[in-house]
């Protein structure tokens, strides 16, 4: 190759490298740069031949890379170096006041967007991020039993386990045994008896938590166990609601199930200790008493206690886990003949929030996404504003204005808008969080702590300001970048300058982000719809429910309480409209039933595997016409006989159990062992879901309550009248039987179902709102781009029209441009859909994260909305008359 050709190649290389520099630099200095590189190359060839030339090429690449990037960053650097901030702020305010429409549009967008973000942030912060309000909360753990020989990994511990953990020492600083019970509370002479959730614990509860009481004192170490003094600590809520915040309550007497207790303390207002449940949501209590029994002497077989354990400060998770495991191993040897029982700790906070974590993470991500869309939208708006004012910039630059000032003004404008928007967003969030708490699930951990405080307000306002500045960064860079000449020529030609490309890119990004958010929203909403349509195995319509707590002090023998329930049933069944009434230990979907180990000896479904043949089943004592009242279908056999038949232990099993153990034959008449007792299967009924509305839980066995004598029962009353109409009459009927009885949770079964769906409803509502917000933002962006294109290309369009194009074809041209952007956004969003789908999979029920129908429908909807947003401004083309347009020029 001749030298001449090498030089031509070098020139091409140098020109290629020039593209690393910003355009204005390229325009102005490019020729000089290329020439100088060529001079270098020539010298190199002369001195060292081709090898030296290659060296120059390589050096030129490194040089251009470094200096090109540095030159692109220059506006930001020089902005930092110079300028009068106060004046800039003043000018930005003045400019915004002069264009109220723009300011209002921006602030409205920001307020709503940041408000949504702040609301979600407040919830996520309080529930997932903020520590529990106890001393060294990270050292608190709940400990569970894992029965390795039955599939039951999360069982209550026995009282003996609590005693062993307390005695262990070492890494275990303290252990609190806990149990919640519902008791009927009365105090003074007046006041209706009420059922109150009571937390029974060992006396060290408040000490292990490390909390102080608001009034009075906590339990002394000797105030537990047999013969303990009957003392009670009230929660702040109870003290306010039932005792009128009476400061002299300390020392007064209340009765629980008829037994007297002395009030010794009132907890702090914020104190709502929750004990996690083995199944279902965590439970809190309204008052605290101590156990009257000695936990060390309880039966190791009865897992009936929760245990809260505090790790010694500075203990690693591994060492603590090992210490708990060692206690478990000792108990396994001592009490379970080494069948494989294990104890394991779970961090208290993680345990409490585990149920809501997936939903909250999805919500948090959706909130972050919304903020992203908002930022891009903001940038588009600011860019449009800069573009409108480019002539003004060009002239002021020509008159000697510092080019940095233009960038600074744009940045200030963005920051200021963001700041004010952040304040607005905080205000929205104050109301938003209140509304949210109202529709939030009752079991949302730390629900009462959710709210906007100064810390959250600061974060939101800072996010707003940062958002404004970041969004203004691109337009600001563009404004400084653009040199006087190109500005003036751009402004004259009105053909869409460099910012046009940037704006289009932003719209593509917006469409992509909205698509991802909308798809996620669509999936969550669809999953919620699946839940609403799920068949839980019972019929909630027209069913009124209530719980009647019956104290053992007043109804001592099972026969007495059975007689009471019979009277209650008779009294209520006689009410007009009531068609069926019955009761059970707990209602479906409330996760309130007990469990028992069962065996079906001789059933064809037995496999010989001990784990499979001796499963743990939900154990539900029921009475009266419970199944008719809840519409639980009888699959085979018969229901309980109206009268107790001596000698027959009637047992009903659910469909899932029958299908597993009697896949072909009939289980009717089969013998069933329940925790050692033997019974006869008289019928098979539909599986009424106890835990989740969308999936079957454990096998279920129903026994006649008469055998077992559960005192406190939950009633289901089916009537052909509205349940709400019935409440007063039911209340009166109960009090006719016994005026001392408390009535708890008197509500329609549909409310129970609703309650179990609260979390999903919340997610669905929020995500739907977020994605619609994102969609409208994206539509606004598209609208803006296309209408700006129509404005800027007026002249060009006029020429086209004058040369014979008709309005329709010009409109098609503009629409094509918009459609291209939409298509680009959709393509860009597809990988995002995939990632988002994988992230939300855990929170979805009955819907695949890549459900083709949902994704397709959402994408189609987005395209339609986006094209409409293009079409409306494109229609304005019709208004352009070539002659008039030229005259305007």
């Amino acid at each position: 190759m001749s030298d001449e050709r090498w030089m031509r190649a070098s020139a091409r290389w140098a020109r290629l490298l020039l593209h690393l520099y910003p355009r204005d630099f390229r325009d102005e200095m490019g020729m000089g740069v290329v020439e100088t590189y060529l001079d270098h190359c020539r010298t190199a060839v002369r001195r060292g031949g081709l090898l030296a030339l290659c060296g120059v090429w390589a050096k030129a690449f490194v040089d251009s890379l470094w200096n090109g990037v540095a030159e692109r960053l220059r506006p930001a650097v020089s902005w930092r170096r110079s300028g009068d901030w106060g004046l800039d702020a003043q000018r930005a305010v003045r400019r915004l006041v002069r264009t109220p429409l723009f300011a209002v549009a921006m602030l409205g967008t920001l307020t709503v967007g940041l408000g949504a973000f702040a609301t979600v942030y407040a919830v996520v912060d309080r529930v997932l991020l903020a520590p529990l309000p106890y001393d060294r909360p990270d050292d608190l753990h709940f400990v569970w039993r894992n029965y390795k020989w039955v599939p039951f990994e999360r069982g209550w511990v026995g009282g003996t386990d609590v005693a062993a953990l307390q005695a262990a020492g070492g890494a275990i600083e303290g252990a609190v045994g806990l149990r919640t019970e519902r008791m009927t509370m009365t105090h003074g002479t007046d006041g209706e008896p009420a059922e109150v959730p009571i937390m029974l614990s060992t006396p060290n509860l408040f000490r292990v938590l490390g909390v102080q009481l608001a009034r009075g004192r906590g339990f002394a170490p000797n105030e537990g166990g047999p013969g303990r003094p009957p003392v009670i600590v009230l929660s702040d809520n109870l003290w306010r609601d039932r005792f009128g915040a009476d400061p002299s309550v300390i020392g007064s007497e209340v009765r629980l199930d008829g037994r007297p207790f002395t009030v010794i303390g009132v907890a702090q207002p914020g104190f709502r200790f929750k004990r996690h449940a083995s199944e279902g949501p965590p439970e809190s209590a309204d008052a605290y008493i101590t156990f009257e029994m000695d936990l060390a002497t309880t039966s190791p077989n009865s897992g009936a206690f929760a245990v809260l354990v505090r790790a010694r400060a500075g203990t690693t998770a591994e060492r603590f886990g090992a210490a708990v495991g060692a206690v478990g191993a000792m108990i396994d040897r001592r009490d379970f003949r080494s069948r494989g029982l294990e104890l394991y700790p779970v961090g208290a906070k993680g345990d409490l929030v585990a149920r809501v974590r997936p939903a909250l993470i999805v919500l948090g991500a959706a909130g972050a996404f919304l903020v992203l869309v908002l930022a891009v939208n903001l940038a588009t708006l600011l860019l449009a504003r800069v573009a409108q004012r480019e002539r003004e910039f060009a002239i002021s630059r020509a008159l000697g204005a510092n080019h940095v000032a233009v960038a600074r003004a744009t940045l200030f404008e963005g920051g200021l808008l963001g700041l004010v928007g952040g304040v607005g967003g905080t205000l929205v969030a104050v109301w938003g969080t209140r509304a949210l708490v109202a529709i939030a699930p009752a079991d949302l951990p730390r629900r009462e702590a959710i709210g906007v405080d100064w810390r959250i307000a600061t974060v939101v306002i800072a996010v707003g300001a940062a958002l404004g500045v970041v969004a203004a960064l691109l337009p600001a860079m563009w404004a400084t970048r653009t040199r006087l000449m190109s500005l003036l020529s751009n402004a004259n030609v009105r053909g869409g300058g460099g910012h046009g490309r940037m704006r289009r890119a932003m719209v593509v990004v917006q469409v992509a982000l909205s698509l991802v958010l909308l798809t996620t929203g669509g999936l969550v909403v669809r999953s919620f719809e699946r839940l609403l349509r799920a068949n839980p195995g019972f019929d909630a319509t027209g069913v009124l429910t209530m719980r009647i707590p019956v104290s053992s002090a007043r109804y001592q023998t099972p026969a007495q309480s059975t007689a009471l329930h019979e009277r209650l049933e008779r009294e209520i069944a006689a009410l007009p409209g009531v068609t069926a009434i019955g009761a059970a230990s707990a209602l479906p979907l409330t996760a309130g039933v007990d469990q028992a180990g069962i065996q079906l000896p001789g059933a064809p479904g037995n496999t010989g595997d001990k784990e499979h043949d001796g499963p743990l089943a939900d154990y539900i004592p029921a009475r009266g016409r419970f199944f008719e009242a809840l519409g639980i279908r009888l699959v085979a056999g018969r229901l309980f006989a109206p009268r107790l038949e001596p000698g027959v232990n009637e047992v009903l099993i659910d469909r899932t159990l029958a299908e597993e153990f009697y896949p072909s034959g009939s289980p009717i008449g089969a013998r069933i062992n329940i925790d050692g007792d033997s019974g006869t299967v008289i019928g098979v009924i539909e599986h009424a879901r106890q835990y989740d509305i969308h999936k079957d839980g454990r096998y279920q066995v129903y026994i006649r309550n008469e055998y077992n004598g559960y005192r406190s029962l939950s009633y289901a009353i089916k009537a052909n009248r509205s349940p709400t109409d019935l409440t007063a009459e039911v209340r009166a009927a109960v009090h006719r039987v016994d005026p001392q009885l408390a009535i708890a949770n008197l509500r329609a079964m549909e409310e129970v179902v609703d309650d179990s769906l609260r979390q999903q409803r919340l997610s669905a509502v929020l995500i739907a709102a977020f994605s619609l917000g994102a969609l409208s933002l994206a539509a606004m962006g598209l609208f803006g781009v296309v209408s700006a294109a129509v404005n800027r290309r007026r002249h060009e369009i006029a020429v086209r029209l004058a040369l014979g194009a008709d309005h329709a074809s010009v409109r098609r041209l503009l629409l094509r441009e918009g459609a291209g952007l939409v298509l680009g956004g959709v393509l860009l969003g597809v990988p995002g859909i995939y990632l988002a789908g994988r992230a939300v999979a855990g929170a979805l029920v009955g819907v695949s994260p890549f459900d083709a129908t949902t994704v397709g429908a959402v994408a189609a909807g987005l395209v339609v909305v986006a094209l409409a947003a293009c079409y409306i401004p494109a229609r304005r083309v019709t208004g352009i008359e070539p002659a008039q347009a030229f005259r305007e020029e």
Partner: protein, 121 residues
């Protein structure tokens, strides 16, 4: 231009090495880009500036009014391609002198501080 609107030159000091190289070169006459690099090389004080660094500095100095583009004309070398030439403005000359004075003072101070042997420069 009135005196009070003039840029206080001291605020621009110290100059970057590449800026001083440029002003120093142009002080003796008009140069094109490669000419400035050759001048810097001939001074033998470390590596000459990279092309990108040089042109970014040229643009900066031009924006500040320290240098200006001269006519585009063929280079003195054998080939007859045309080149962009630059020359220093009176303001640029003042700036270069101020920087030179600052450097001289610095050198003096270094000598007094015992960092330089007598007659080293």
């Amino acid at each position: 231009m009135t005196m009070d609107r003039e840029l206080p030159i001291e605020r621009l000091l110290p100059l970057r090495p590449v800026e001083f190289d440029i002003l120093l070169s142009l002080a003796t006459g008009e140069r094109h880009g490669y000419g400035i690099i050759q001048d810097a090389e001939s001074r033998g004080l470390g590596p000459a500036p990279d092309v990108g660094t040089l042109y970014r500095a040229l643009r900066r100095l031009q924006d500040q009014g320290m240098i200006e583009a001269a006519d585009r004309r063929p280079a003195r070398e054998a080939d007859d391609e045309r080149r962009n030439y630059y020359r220093v403005t009176p303001l640029g000359l003042r700036l270069a002198k101020a920087e030179a004075k600052r450097l001289a003072a610095l050198t003096r101070a270094a000598r007094l501080g015992g960092l330089l042997e007598r007659g080293a420069i």
